[in-house]
């Protein structure tokens, strides 16, 4: 198979593109997503929520290459043999790419790590909520938080939220998301959350990483429990095999109806958590509730 632009050997099929034209296509798609959805303005300070995994590494690399001012923000949840491995790789990668990196530690910030709360049930929900809040707090001085969510992540989330009857959450799926959209976030003084890889599939992210020698560490979290997400992956990729491009068509189609859908849910002025000041529907946010629950449990078990 030959590249449709230059007749070099293709590394990608839909459409056939060679190494350099694939990278160009990838970067153009990121830039177009940023411009079309007004995700980032010139000169803004960007925090990239970095895990050390392939998606956030690719995001750091491509945003820097496109000329944006990026800093990597990482959280060490305290998961021995997993996050430590990824963070070692992230340190090397950021050093090599001359990207500033800041790592914040659960044990320092909360007094416990995820390993300490294993066995108390619902590890993932707690760990994820606490990490999100810590990133939000630490990114407060930045204009934007960018995350590495790709097309596959978002399509899975869309399907999961529809199946689980979380229609309002589903309606908010898009390249700029989080609890509030960009305008709301600015109005209420919260840092915006954006997903520049929103229209790129996981396979495209992997190919871009391979072509640009971006590290991809093969490690999975011992507590990972999103079984529904995992079960959706295979049928979705079978669908893509049968009908190449269908994933992107579904997400693009959804973006056409999600605007009015979001509006139909209205936007109410968010509250702030009385403890941490982060956006919250109730007086105390779920992260603060989880943190105090865990502290109590750990104190009682001593």
């Amino acid at each position: 198979m030959r590249c449709i632009h230059c007749s070099e050997k293709a590394v990608f099929e839909t459409p056939p593109l060679c190494k350099s034209h694939f990278s160009e296509y990838f970067e153009r798609t990121v830039l177009r997503t940023i411009n079309d959805f007004k995700l980032i303005r010139k000169g803004e300070n960007l925090a990239v929520a970095s895990s050390g995994g392939k998606d956030s590494n690719v995001l750091l690399f491509v945003l820097k290459k496109l000329g944006f001012k990026v800093t990597a923000l990482a959280i060490n949840e305290g998961i021995g043999g997993y996050r430590s491995l990824l963070l070692d790789s992230l340190r090397k990668f950021c050093l090599q790419q001359e990207i500033p990196l800041k790592i914040y530690d659960f044990r320092e910030e909360y007094g416990f790590g995820t390993d300490d709360i294993a066995g108390h049930g619902g590890v993932c929900r707690r760990c994820g909520t606490l990490r999100r809040r810590l990133i939000n707090i630490k990114a407060a001085s930045f204009d934007v938080i960018a995350t590495g969510h790709n097309l596959d992540d978002e399509l899975q989330s869309l399907m999961m939220n529809i199946v689980k009857n979380n229609h309002e959450v589903a309606a908010r799926i898009g390249p700029s998301s989080g609890v509030f959209n960009s305008q709301e976030a600015a109005r209420y003084g919260f840092t915006r959350r954006v997903k520049p890889l929103f229209f790129l599939s996981e396979k495209e992210v992997v190919i871009y990483a391979l072509l640009n020698r971006i590290p991809m560490i093969n490690a999975s979290c011992p507590y990972s429990s999103s079984s529904m997400r995992r079960h959706l992956k295979i049928p979705i990729s079978r669908m893509e095999d049968e009908s190449p491009g269908i994933k992107r068509r579904i997400i693009r189609g959804f973006m056409k109806i999600s605007g009015p859908l979001k509006k139909s849910y209205g936007s109410s002025r968010p509250n702030r958590c009385v403890i941490c000041g982060q956006p919250s529907k109730s007086r105390i946010c779920s992260a603060c509730r989880i943190a105090s629950e865990i502290e109590e449990k750990l104190a009682n078990s001593h």
Binding site: V11, K203, L210, S224
Partner: protein, 62 residues
């Protein structure tokens, strides 16, 4: 042919296209990237029985 897949290596007897190999292994083409000698190969490329092939799953992680 030697195939390295998800960290393990195995030997199978196969010659044909990359698409054929994935069918033979019941793998979905959109969920993997196939490489030979460190280079990505597309689905239409032919593989010989003495090739060494790496199959990377792209849907890993949690």
């Amino acid at each position: 042919m030697i195939i390295a897949i998800d960290g393990g290596k195995r030997r199978i007897s196969f010659s044909g296209t990359v698409r054929g190999l994935l069918e033979h292994l019941s793998l979905s083409p959109s969920s993997v990237v196939v490489m030979r000698e460190g280079e990505i190969v597309t689905l239409d490329e032919s593989l010989n029985n003495d090739d060494e092939v790496v199959i990377m799953s792209v849907l890993s992680g949690g």
